[in-house]
């Protein structure tokens, strides 16, 4: 159940921006909104009655989704917090331990390693996937023969499940009889341990994720490239901008919203990586690929220390909140300060 992050740049439609006035009560609400006359003018008798009955219908429409979505997110979030203050094995009655779980986390070297591994994985995967995606998208945006085929080939791995990828690549990268080592052998390179080598396992996992995840970045950037206003590129060209300047000063700036979105999206996905690890290395060798979600899963469902796992999850969620909320708050505060300054300047 991967959660999709809130789409960043979906614009609020204009006709939705009108204040949430209730159109049933105010019979005297006659300001002429041309876009939807029947919703603004006092409706004739029977229609007015229908509008009043609307509340019940609306609630019937939304209640299934509201109940399921809020029920399966608000309840677990609260429950998780409660759980993190308890020692719980998911079976016998739990015991209150206060901040004991969190204290233990701080000292747990395995948790520390999981955090380091996750940060390393994210730090390698996110920039590489976006950089590679950008480069590929720029090339695939040209008019080249077979470009459609190339685009398809780059994207197809994205639909392959992490499980299938894991099974496939453990087969390809098997150190003893995998096809990768036999190809390396032919090239005169000594056989590699790949996923069985503590020094290689994590970068290899990153490479596998790049194989499947780059296509996503390519598709998203390609879509954005189509939207770069031709008037801008034309103006820049008339001003004598070369290809590099065009890329640097026109194309990249108009890609900024999309690249920000990808940065956020890929980071969220990278921090939550689990399936691939579970299928290929189970956190090994020597804990070199134990990522945070794997750590949480292990604590809760293998060692049956659910309270401890919940505490780890909460620690991660708080860290995430800080990482994503702080820059936003800073930007908002800076924007407000700038606006105030401008106002003051105008007043003077």
């Amino acid at each position: 159940m991967p959660r999709l992050p809130t789409p960043l740049t979906l614009p609020e439609r204009k006709h939705d921006a009108r204040p949430d006035g209730d159109h049933t009560g105010h019979g005297d609400d006659t300001d002429g909104d041309a876009s939807s006359p029947s919703f603004r003018r006092p409706p004739p008798g029977p229609l007015r009655r229908r509008l009043r009955g609307e509340q019940a219908t609306a609630w019937m429409f939304v209640s299934p989704s509201v109940l399921i979505i809020l029920g399966l997110s608000v309840v677990p979030v609260a429950w998780s917090l409660l759980l993190s203050f308890r020692a719980d094995d998911l079976v016998t009655p739990s015991r209150w331990v206060g901040l004991g779980n969190y204290r233990a986390l701080v000292q747990d070297p395995h948790f520390g390693q999981a955090v380091r591994n996750t940060v390393l994985y994210t730090g390698l995967y996110v920039p590489a996937s976006i950089g590679l995606g950008l480069a590929l998208a720029l090339v695939l945006n040209r008019r080249i023969r077979l470009v459609g085929l190339y685009r398809t080939l780059v994207f197809v791995p994205f639909v392959v499940s992490a499980t299938a990828q894991g099974v496939l690549f453990s087969f390809v990268l098997d150190p003893d009889f995998g096809v990768a080592n036999s190809v390396l052998h032919k090239l005169g390179v000594s056989p590699q341990g790949f996923l069985t080598d503590p020094g290689q396992a994590l970068p290899v996992l990153v490479a596998i994720s790049l194989w499947s995840g780059t296509g996503f970045c390519v598709v998203v950037i390609l879509a954005a490239l189509q939207d770069v206003p031709p008037s801008l590129t034309e103006a820049a060209r008339l001003d004598g901008a070369g290809r590099w300047h065009l890329l640097r000063h026109v194309v990249l700036p108009s890609l900024t919203p999309v690249l920000t979105f990808l940065l956020l999206w890929q980071t969220i996905n990278a921090l939550q990586v689990f399936d691939l690890v579970y299928v290929t290395t189970k956190g090994g060798p020597l804990g070199s690929t134990t990522v945070i979600v794997y750590f949480i899963w292990e604590q809760a469902f293998k060692n049956f220390t659910a309270g401890y796992g919940a505490a780890a999850a909460y620690a991660l969620a708080l860290a995430l909140l800080l990482v994503f909320a702080v820059p936003r708050l800073v930007r908002a505060a800076r924007g407000r300060a700038r606006a105030t300054r401008r106002l003051e300047g105008a007043a003077r």
Binding site: T24, V66, R143, R145, P157, V159, L168, V279, V293
Partner: protein, 294 residues
């Protein structure tokens, strides 16, 4: 990827014809020297998956392994499909995914329509709350969701897999955005003629909403079919396994029968791959609209 391939932007067209600037340009075909090997890197693992699934065990277990099957041997497929459990896992996956797709379309459209077109107390706050839940990381909810499902007596049943994926805030939000972009006039005419809201939604709005419907269907199918984490937590007994879950245990049990493992893998990948090939345009649209476009 025809969605984007069909319409090269004017800027690329101009760039392709801008050779007169005197810059050194790669000849037209030179890009293929770069792109062809790159495309191969992306394609080879999948080709190898297909090839190895039709190799005999002797060929697979040889070192160095054969790169091309000397003859097509369907032993792996026969072994997998003759396995008592595998077809069952396939059916489980199908049931869960189809249920998730159907209910996301239905509940998502109902909710999205109410949020887009009806006025009711608290609609704004409710929508904001639902959107906020998208920011909750999965690992925070996975342990308590397990406990909730346990309370409901659903653990170890397909119900535990279906209930949490019945409707996503994303589906509701996407439908809402799409409905807001439709002109109201058509609906209003039907509504004033005495159609109920439900009839308006099903007879007027939904027939106009194919892009939204296919986007939600594609994304829901992709995520539920491919999910491993949640089935791993919620399911213990192998009769309730999904394909993804079955495949992980399959790998351990049948380590010597790689042809069978690879055949099982092909069968796991095939439905999404086929769906992608048939509905490329919807896939691409859903990917781009999930992030950047309404």
């Amino acid at each position: 990827m025809s969605a984007t391939a069909d319409s090269p932007s004017p800027s690329t067209a101009r760039r392709a014809g801008g050779a007169q600037r005197g810059r050194i340009r790669l000849p037209f075909s030179a890009w293929h020297l770069l792109l062809a090997p790159l495309a191969l890197v992306f394609a080879v693992p999948l080709i190898w998956l297909l090839l190895s699934s039709v190799m005999s065990d002797a060929e697979i277990n040889r070192f160095p392994p054969a790169l091309w099957p000397s003859e097509i041997d369907l032993g792996g497929y026969r072994y997998v499909l003759g396995n008592a459990m595998f077809p069952r896992w396939f059916a489980n996956s199908l049931i869960v995914s189809v249920a998730a797709v159907a209910s996301n379309l239905l509940l998502g459209a109902l909710g999205g329509y109410a949020f887009a077109r009806m006025r009711f107390a608290g609609s704004r706050i409710l929508m904001a709350l639902m959107l906020a839940t998208m920011a909750i990381p999965f690992q925070l909810t996975m342990i308590p969701t397990f406990l909730v499902m346990k309370q409901l007596g659903l653990i170890d049943t397909l119900g535990a897999l279906i209930v949490p994926s019945l409707v996503t805030p994303f589906a509701v939000f996407l439908f809402r955005q799409f409905f807001l972009s439709l002109p109201r006039e058509l609906e209003e005419a039907a509504w004033m003629d005495g159609c109920s809201r439900l009839r308006v939604l099903f007879l007027v709005v939904l027939p106009l909403s194919r892009p939204a419907l296919s986007t939600v269907a594609v994304l829901t199918f992709l995520t539920t079919w491919n999910d491993l984490t949640w089935p791993l937590i919620a399911i213990n007994h192998d009769t309730q396994y999904t394909l993804q879950l079955g495949l992980t245990t399959f790998q351990g049990q049948h380590h010597t029968r790689w042809s069978a493992v690879m055949a099982g893998n092909v069968i796991t990948v095939l439905p999404v791959l086929l769906a992608f090939l048939f509905a490329q345009k919807s896939f691409i649209q859903s990917i781009t609209s999930s992030g950047i476009k309404g």
